[in-house]
Subunit: 133 residues, 2 copies
């Protein structure tokens, strides 16, 4: 395990190194490339306007661009830009009916991902309130 | 519904506005403050080193700081900084046993959130490969 030797060189004086724990994990933890991919999904969702837009789609199942712009309270050109980004990354999908373009969440996994993020934010707020009181 | 009138002023010429769809959603979509909270959870996870660190914790259940630094391949001081941020935001929790500090994911919701992000990134890569072939 040359990798362990190389990596520990700077910190052999530490008291809590467990090679038997570390060894199997070195090969199992996601690669840096995969980690950047995962981080990039979260980065895409790290925007307040997108959070509201996606929440509207989660509530309504499907919405046309005009309705969506109105609900989120941003311009149609701004929302079109956001929707394009989200569509390129498979967060939303669209269908066109005549001159109307409808958007929805891409799938149930996206819905879960958004719900878990919102849930965590709510729990953070609750914990902060408990701490303050 | 003064809000609808105000917001539609710039785009009454559009053909696909459905007040009956929009009206109930205006009061139901998350507030801007809550949306920023949700976005901020995702922003915290939008980092490749944190993604690997959290994946290691997801695999191992619990790890001491030294082992974690070794697995992720960053310095102990860098990983301590990351862990503090993640602990403040209830993504990880810790327990101290003598001179050893152990970290784990905060709860099963955090585990799900991370798994959904990683899953989405994998599906994106698969779709990109299909498109390229």
């Amino acid at each position: 395990m040359a990798q362990i030797t190389d990596l520990t060189r700077d910190r052999c004086e530490t008291e809590c190194l467990h090679p038997e724990v570390v060894r199997p994990l070195l090969g199992a933890v996601m690669s840096r490339v995969d980690a950047e991919g995962s981080a990039s999904v979260f980065a895409l969702l790290a925007d307040g306007s997108r959070a509201r837009l996606l929440h509207a789609l989660a509530l309504a199942n499907e919405l046309c661009v005009c309705d969506l712009a109105l609900i989120v309270g941003i311009s149609q050109s701004a929302i079109s830009h956001q929707l394009r980004l989200l569509r390129d990354r498979r967060i939303v999908s669209r269908r066109k009916v005549g001159r109307i373009v409808y958007y929805r969440l891409f799938d149930e996994h996206v819905r879960d991902l958004l719900a878990q993020g919102a849930r965590h934010a709510r729990e953070e707020r609750r914990a902060a309130r408990r701490k303050a009181s």
